[in-house]
């Protein structure tokens, strides 16, 4: 057979490509649900690590099914808000059909272009509110989940992840527990510019909304700082007032006893 003939060559390549494409499409469709389940469990692990539901290692050792159970039994409610700070959707939290906003990239675009956003807010039974942050690191996206105490002002915990930051440098935002632990007890200063600072020598200023950037990971730190501030700004309308209200309440509680003494 003459395999160098033009017609044969064209037909041969076309057939090969069609066979390979249909095989891949079939496999992608078959494995899709399992991949989505893995991605969902991963997101839940990160959120629950930030919210302090269980230590991070335990969450990563647990099976996907256990993670879904754990989330369903710890979540109070989940909803989405628009850029105006108003609620614009509910996310199901029942065990069988947990809904998440796991694609953060389109949301990030919506924030930057001031378009239609559905930013998720996850309220846990402990009263902690978990929100995502997302931005560009050095090589690819960086993102994370920030858990706020019920006062909506103090950070209860954080978890960061990345797609392809340099191992040993930028990847420390995920790999080194000390980095995320630094965020615990810090505050988000809603309405301030910037609301949070992840910068060189930031801790030395004594500010409660500041964490030192990582040495050797300047671009990753910058990207994460940007991610935090862009997303905190987007959530400000939703949380800022609540946080203020809470501070006023606390302030009253502190001053009222004195008033009685007088």
């Amino acid at each position: 057979m003459n395999t160098n003939n033009n017609v044969y060559t064209v037909i041969y390549t076309a057939v090969i490509v069609v066979i390979v494409a249909s095989l891949l499409a079939f496999v992608a469709a078959k494995l899709g649900p399992a991949q989505d389940a893995n991605a969902k469990a991963e997101t839940l692990r990160q959120m629950m690590s930030a919210a302090g539901v269980k230590p991070t290692e335990e969450l990563y050792a647990a099976k996907n099914a256990e993670i879904l159970d754990l989330y369903a039994s710890n979540i109070q409610e989940a909803y989405t808000i628009g850029l105006d700070g108003e609620k614009n959707g509910e996310l199901s939290v029942s065990k069988d059909k947990i809904e998440l906003v796991s694609k953060l990239k389109p949301q990030h675009k919506a924030i930057l272009s001031e378009g239609e956003a559905t930013l998720p807010v996850y309220i846990f039974k402990s009263g902690k509110a978990v929100i995502p942050v997302y931005g560009a690191g050095l090589w690819g996206p960086v993102w994370g989940y920030i858990a706020l105490q019920p006062d909506l002002h103090t950070i209860a915990g954080a978890f960061f992840d990345h797609e392809s930051e340099t191992p040993g440098l930028g990847a420390k935002i995920k790999d080194e527990p000390w980095f995320r632990e630094k965020f615990t007890g810090k505050t988000v200063e809603w309405g301030d510019s910037p609301a949070f600072r992840l910068e060189k020598n930031a801790e030395a200023t004594g500010a409660t909304n500041a964490v030192d950037a990582i040495t050797g990971a300047t671009m990753t730190s910058k990207g994460l700082n940007e991610a935090l501030n862009v997303w905190f700004n987007a959530y400000e309308k939703h949380f800022g007032v609540g946080a203020l209200f809470h501070m006023l309440e606390e302030h009253e509680a502190e001053t009222t006893p004195n008033a009685e003494e007088e």
Partner: protein, 203 residues
């Protein structure tokens, strides 16, 4: 025949090792050797891709039009790589490792070993020897990957497969974690390899 098969399998692991002798596939050897676990998964993925691609190309060898043979090989290799990536993503236990290896699984397609073996061996040999040749070359690659990762994880993080083995007072060496150290280690491995194998030494 048996002798020839044995040589097909052993040669790529020792005398004709794709990394230390042919110096192919260096890029991924730098990238995925920070931790042993990643290196092992990467090695297994490459073994699967080289083996299966060689097998398929060998089966097709008499039908492939010569003028487009590289393109056909590329399509077959790309398919295998995507399959491996998809399967890793779908497994509950392998999902985290796939995330950690990120783009490097996809980049197996650019690994010179895969195309090199198809072009040099699979197109001229029967399917079974081609499969073995592919697997053996993957093994030779994986062996070096695991050796490099062993030292990088041990000295760079003080752990092996994530378990702490050096005393907790050990200060991890940052240089070991950075990619250039993989080259230094690779150089040492080539040196040792050549010192033991007189045939590899230049006169």
């Amino acid at each position: 025949m048996a002798q020839k098969l044995k040589e097909t399998i052993l040669n790529p692991i020792l005398k004709g090792n794709p990394i230390t002798v042919l110096v192919l596939g260096i890029c991924s050897a730098l990238a995925v050797t920070v931790q042993l676990k990643g290196a092992v998964v990467m090695a297994l993925s490459v073994i699967a891709v080289t083996g299966l691609s060689s097998l398929v190309c060998s089966l097709l060898r008499n039908t492939i039009p010569n003028r487009v043979r590289i393109i056909v090989q590329l399509v077959v290799v790309a398919m295998m790589v995507i399959l491996v990536d998809q399967i890793l993503k779908a497994g509950e236990g392998t999902y985290a490792i796939d995330k950690q290896l990120s783009v490097y699984i996809g980049l197996i397609i650019t690994n010179c070993i895969v195309m090199g073996r198809i072009e040099a061996f699979a197109l001229g040999n029967k399917p079974i020897p081609s499969l073995l040749d592919g697997i053996a070359n993957g093994l030779g690659y994986g062996l070096i990957l695991v050796i490099v990762a062993f030292f990088r994880e041990l000295l760079g993080s003080g752990t092996l497969f994530g378990f702490q083995v050096l005393p907790s007072g050990y200060i991890p060496n940052n240089l070991v974690i950075l990619p250039p150290f993989a080259l230094i280690l690779l150089g040492c491995i080539i040196w040792v390899h050549r010192a033991f194998d007189k045939d590899l030494q230049e006169k």
